[in-house]
Symmetry: D2
Subunit: 349 residues, 4 copies
């Protein structure tokens, strides 16, 4: 199979770097274009990134030699991954969709659009059925698909199978989020050394609303949000990668701890699709008393698994547990790539 | 006024060191005895502590020259502060009470005893009225008073005025606790660098039960616990001092945000007693969007104030907010000293 | 005595904040002006600093209410402290000197000027004798005095008494420098968590040259640099405040370890001047095997003392030791204030 | 080729875990035995290590199921790797050699023995020629080979080619060492958060003496140490893995910077031997102004490469540079494994 040519919009930021890293040896996709802001354009990616490459290992040489282009829809590729900043993502992604590109975006701008899927292939694959409707907006066959916020995705992965089987009524979550979620330079070292910052701008609203769309139904051409009350409190901790979340849930139907754990362990709706980025187990439950931990569990499933632990009764709602997911892999670049793999497999590309 | 002679049991640990530091220039108390385990006994405190002194500033010379005694009730003082490890505190504290000493203890062992006050002078000063009853156990006039766990105290200080005025039904809390709470050597650096540990042994149970006794009533010679459902999830973060807590509350009576903030700001029941360790404001509400923070707020009120911030509606319960208190000052040594000051002021010494 | 009115140029940066903090209760000086870049000017200092105040404790209210001015020589004061960035300090400081202000500067721009003292009052107070010569450049009685780089000053304080008594030939130093030395936002947390950066732009050159001027002689109206070979390697470590330095020295005359320690301990040339910022002991030698440490020793002498430890023979030069000094107090704001105190005491103001 | 059966002595510590991790998929060796202290013996490795496994990824299942044995020479293997603590390594290793085992040890005890090679295969492979002489002590064909201290090895790798080509006279080094070098639990988090510790017990002596044996010659059946003066200052920094060293050297013959870099880049004496653990490049020189860094360079060559950077003239000796090597891979387990591979290749097994 010839590889699909792909471009990366916003290729120089933290998430853009993760796209490069995760796509460089991808069996289905080939990076042919890297695009960024005007001031980076015209130079090679290697030159532009010399002091800015922050992910593990070196810049792949085949990408380092690509010329950085501007983010205008004249790129030699069929599919673009968007790691653009929310300040510019809205318009640029629309321009690409309009010009016929398929856009798999990590930006927040179009997530809640009524005809744009907020997609997690394990959770709401049927939401892709809105795509034909969206395409009417873009005459040349392009369209936009989005993935959720880095704190939403781990939460929604752990909640989805519980919601399907037992029904969720109320969810309370406090997040302990990693530094890489703030991009680079992001959080100043003087602000976080020996400290926690109990505030991330706009984050709590995303965690409280995005899961409702994802866990909702697509009915008659529109998204009906799930009727779950979610309350989120978000903090930043001195950890490089991996968002940890302290979660309590109230269920509609009674369930035992064993049933919950079994439900998580059996959950693997993509098992038969052979998507390259899909982890062997989307959810892993750890029985140890002190897991999950960012340092130990963030790379589970090459960063695509959500790890759960410490399930126990809650005095206020029904159960509580901790979960952890890698915020720049499963929570950003890896999510958008998995979405594109799913679209390709299902014939949307 | 002649100063009251006091001893410190467990003077070599982290909390013991805080006792030394906070008592050394105390206007009412004078350290005459430092006691610890057998293997430290017989040498000077300065010698024993040479490599173990972990709090700010140097070992005070007047304490450094004291001989470390064993923890047997033959100390030259009227009052002992107990920073003993829970493994030994139970028996030793009873021996001191039996021998006629007043014991102000930070250990958990006797906190839930039916005739021992779990005292926070701002919150439940009337619980001292159980003391005469307890004294019947100890013929020579001694007795035991305890202060709560380092995670409980900030929580209970913030909750108490809300409970008094609006009634509390349900409370959900996730803690982000500092390293010093684990004592020394405590948490290994390899375990916490670039990490969070979502587990502290026994902690969640304490946070879920101690507030019920503290916020409860003393009626007919016994403690009637408050009827509040509390659910706690406890984590350890890479911060030296200062426990941060993410809290949601459900109230019995409706209240506006302004009423809650006003209730906190006006709360100062010890204002007129002149207790040396009582902070000018036991509760401070910060209006900034990103406070309280351990680094910036832990030393408020010389470590005796609980700082609150980010009050906002909760989608699941009624309101949510963050609070922070210094875990080895207000959460341990400072609490026990304030208790002793209150006892002295009220004639219990 | 009426207090001398002082202004702070660059009052909003990290060093500017330290000036505010250290000057607010100063017995000789009174902050009447705070100046910064155009975009801060016109608002109150409290408003401008709301999210930018990074030093311990709150913004002092009497400074918070001052209006931030632009850095033009129309300030109501006699003396200005300069915490300006090197990009603009050169010209602005000259404009103030020209307009008749005394400028005590922490910026690097004029440090090596042939008629500007690079002053450490304990080390080269006689270098102030160049001031009359410099004043010829500035007709209205103004002049500029500078203090050394934050890594230079601890080094030169420890070396000065050795140089005076035994003569220095060669010095090798590797620094482990704190984050606050890079200003705010400065070092990104993603760059320094679990890391060391073995490079600080321009730093090694300063450490290799500034001590030669400071330890040199003022002869016939010009500075004759000391003939010492200094080699410096500079690194950035994940520490908030306090530069640690690993130093080896070769002496001209033989000396025992005891003589070196005694020389340091006896060194206190400012003892009789009563300067408010002068520490009781400019040099403290710690006998413990593992000192000095940034966390434990940076606040010695209210941040104005240089702490030395681990003196031992060196296999390559003669002796080696570690030293530590607080980089934004003794290494910046505190140094400039001590310089101004010395100038006032000696009649230069 | 049938794999050689190997055992690991001290398999439960930090270095022991690295042995397990590095040997589990080894093409030449097969772990058949894991041994530790008496109190671990008798249970499975997986059970013993449940809370103690600290390296990346999970405990390999094939090792987890091995029974932990005591460290007595009754293990089913030909070769043992020793990660024993120095307190017990001396005697135990001798017992194994005596019983006919080949011992590749990371412990310090026998490093300086007159008939034991202190081996770095890239540097002093000829030192293995002492083995026949050593074997005379151990009648059954066993013998001991050691690798150097974790701070020595990076230094000696960078120095060796310079010494061979230009001759070394004097070397000055300050180390910034990682936490994992202290084992587990090792450094307490309260000691290192926001701090540097300028002392590691016994470390400076090792760095000053071990390189002399390694860079020395084996002549007439005895080791003649190299005549180089080395001075070391050792510090502990808040970094997980990777020892950074600031080095200055004085050469016997003149050399340009280009010659030094070329000498390092061309150095690859093991290139043709096909040893599985030998990195493609034992030395990598990075041209960037701010490298090497622990976070970015420690995993170079799967942790077996020494990375060098910032070569520049030294004002005191001739040149200075920084180097970095992974302290528990190249500096411990990986070094001992490479030694064993070399011995096997050369017929010593």
């Amino acid at each position: 199979m010839e590889k699909v040519k792909v471009g990366i919009l916003g290729a120089t930021g933290m998430v853009g770097q993760r796209f490069v890293q995760l796509l460089v040896d991808h069996p289905w996709f080939e990076i042919t274009e890297v695009a960024a802001s005007e001031r980076s354009a015209g130079r090679s990616y290697g030159e532009v990134m010399q002091d800015r490459w922050k992910v593990e290992r070196e810049i792949p040489p085949e990408v380092a030699r690509l010329e950085v282009k501007e983010c205008v829809p004249e790129l030699q590729c069929r599919l673009v991954f968007s790691a653009l900043d929310a300040k510019v993502a809205g318009t640029i992604e629309e321009e690409f969709a309009k010009a016929g590109y398929v856009v798999s975006s990590n930006a927040r701008n179009h997530r809640m659009d009524p005809d744009v899927p907020l997609l997690v292939p394990e959770v709401n694959p049927d939401h892709t059925e809105i795509i034909p409707q969206q395409k009417k907006r873009w005459p040349k066959g392009g369209y936009i698909v989005t993935n959720p916020n880095c704190s939403t995705i781990g939460l929604v992965m752990a909640l989805a199978p519980l919601h399907r089987r037992f029904g969720l009524k109320r969810v309370m979550v406090t997040t302990l989020q990693a530094l890489s979620g703030a991009g680079y330079p992001g959080v100043a070292s003087l602000d976080i050394l020996d400290n926690v910052i109990p505030f991330i701008s706009g984050e709590e609203a995303k965690v409280e609303t995005e899961p409702l769309k994802i866990l909702g139904r697509l009915e008659g051409g529109r998204f009906v949000p799930a009727e779950i009350a979610i309350s989120a409190s978000c903090t930043r901790v001195n950890v490089r990668d991996g968002h940890l979340e302290s979660v309590s849930v109230e269920l509609q139907r009674q369930a035992t701890e064993e049933e919950l754990i079994q439900t998580w362990q059996e959950y693997n709706p993509l098992a038969d699709l052979g998507l390259p980025s899909a982890p062997e187990h989307p959810l892993v439950y750890r029985p140890e008393p002190d897991r999950p931990q960012p340092l130990k569990d963030r790379d589970e499933g090459r960063g695509m698994t959500c790890t759960i632990g410490r399930l126990r009764p809650c005095q206020v709602l029904h159960y509580k547990f901790f979960l952890l997911s890698h915020n720049t892999i499963r929570g950003a670049a890896g999510a958008a790539i998995l979405n594109a793999e799913y679209l390709l497999k299902k014939g949307y590309l």
